[in-house]
Symmetry: C2
Subunit: 345 residues, 2 copies
């Protein structure tokens, strides 16, 4: 290992000067600077981060708390975070929080107290994780995609309520009168807000809220639970002719279940998903869904976190990125779609 002292000796200067040159602070004669740089370069000097971090009381590491790597939604966010953090000179430590109880308070506190990380980005805190507020101001934090309701902690996401309203309004405009929803039992704010958006649109369309049109999938949005929810929704009298799902994978489950029940999408049933992950266009019918800018969400999270670490005055506390309803092949007009049933009305 080559230390700063070795470089100093080789360049014929003191360690202070080497440090100044390499950190670009303080005034150094161009001539000495050149000599130092040459020496450092030639010896392949790399500053020891443990030493630097100890001295500066930082770690240049960002903690990412993610529940589930295999969800393509998170992997895109992750890419965005990693790309920006690398440019800013930060490394990214990844912690699997598993789907269950998203965050672990003691683990988090311990990591910060150990000086392991300078800040953290949560990818899936629950909307009732109020304990996070205790650490506001102490540990820089950005909540990405999901955030604690009414907590005023920095967060970034799309406007889930508006997006859901857009989706369901689209179904209503197509003439659907019985619009169902497959939501989830989890404690994510996004899920709650998507449900609210669904209710908004139902009300705005002058339709009656109906509990038999609501089904719950498992907390982790599994494909199987999407199928199950669809069976519950469609297996009753007067079933929905359109279903809004709070995630793409659930929507795919719904389409699969509908197919098994002899219902063709979109002719017999319209379906809308949420997120626009890769496999929405891997099989026909291509899924109509809400496109969420995952990668950009990740990028902005890291930028925002950096602002907070730097204690910038302008650091925002709530950022909403634009979403988009992407019309593809799983929605159709009610009249065309189901002539039999339309006669019943």
């Amino acid at each position: 290992m080559v230390r700063i002292e070795d470089v100093a000796r080789a360049a014929g200067v003191s360690v202070a000067t080497v440090s100044r040159v390499l950190n670009g602070c303080g005034n150094v004669l161009p001539e000495t600077e050149a000599r130092v740089r040459a020496a450092a370069q030639q010896m392949g000097y790399e500053p020891n981060l443990s030493a630097r971090n100890l001295r500066k009381n930082e770690s240049r590491i960002i903690l990412i708390l993610a529940p589930n790597f295999s969800n393509p939604y998170y992997s895109n966010v992750l890419s965005g975070i990693c790309d920006v953090s690398r440019n800013l000179g930060y490394s990214t430590l990844i912690y699997n929080t598993y789907d269950s109880n998203a965050l672990d308070e003691s683990l988090m506190v311990s990591l910060f107290q150990k000086n392991r990380a300078d800040g953290m980005i949560t990818l899936a805190c629950n909307r009732d994780d109020r304990w996070l507020e205790k650490y506001a101001g102490t540990y820089p934090l950005v909540q990405c995609s999901e955030y604690v309701e009414d907590a005023n902690l920095p967060h970034i996401s799309v406007d889930n309520r508006a997006a859901a309203r857009d989706s369901v309004a689209h179904l209503a405009e197509l003439g659907h009168k019985r619009i169902g929803i497959v939501t989830s039992e989890n404690r994510y704010l996004s899920t709650a807000n998507r449900f609210r958006g669904y209710q908004d649109a139902i009300a705005e369309a002058g339709l009656e809220p109906d509990e038999t049109l609501v089904a719950y999938a498992s907390a982790d949005y599994s494909f199987a639970s999407g199928k199950q929810a669809a069976r519950a929704l469609l297996g009753v009298e007067n079933p929905p002719t359109a279903i809004f799902c709070v995630s793409d994978i659930l929507a795919l489950g719904v389409i699969a279940a509908a197919g098994k029940m002899g219902l063709q999408v979109p002719w017999d049933l319209s379906v809308v998903g949420f997120d626009d992950v890769d496999y929405t266009t891997m099989f026909h019918p291509y899924l109509t869904t809400i496109s969420v800018p995952c990668y950009e969400l990740g990028r902005r999270s890291m930028q925002l976190l950096y602002d907070h670490i730097q204690q910038k005055q302008e650091a925002e506390t709530a950022v909403y990125l634009p979403h988009q309803l992407v019309l593809r092949e799983t929605t159709a007009k009610y009249a065309i779609q189901n002539p039999d049933r339309s006669e019943q009305i």
Copy 2:
């Protein structure tokens, strides 16, 4: 921040004693130990990792070099690595190498020289990344899934050649005479070995190698390139009646393309994939494929790396985990499958 000195003072002992207690080394009176633990607990003491790492010249961090988070194959491996590393007291730093030129030598060296990491796991080195050999012995390394050919560096994977042979032998046993392969243009050893396994099985079945039965998909196994390869393979005279694909996603692309060409899988065409990622059973026909123990691969990688970091004598250098051919719905007997063509023979 509470330091070891604070704990020492509170417990009425010296810092050395506190250190000894907390690190479980050296002899300490049970009584003093209790006092120290109580004090540490009460004050919420957490050792400063920067200081400890500087002193011990380690980082307790593992580097994971991954090309593409959104590939479910890698995300499962990642979970395995993270679970084990956490138990061993390591944090996991994740570096996106992107699909292109998997590893960056200078980046890697710099991270080690900076004392950022104690070891690293590569998830996708190319088979010709010979430069890795230079650092054997200097920087602990485990290559997971992919490894450098003939380099004798620690690696762990399935026996890709045997697995491919199994797959293709299965197709041959079903009576297929014209068995195609969709492989890829990348520089992964797994791809090369799967191709070799394909050739092995073709030879063992007494079939003639035929270049028109080989198609190349893009380096990153994209769905679209799988479709394209299938079109090339199936759009000619005397096309294959079965296709072995070096990845599941390619197989799904092949099935999609075949469907568009009016070919029903498995009746008109048998298809076998590789990896057994989640979505192989999301749509019918469920994919017949090679099941690879991704999570376990990740777990074992980390355990192996730990052995090497500890310089254990028994640390293995090559580990192969068992694979399994999982028969599902995309393969069928040749005779049944395609009566028209079978008459031509």
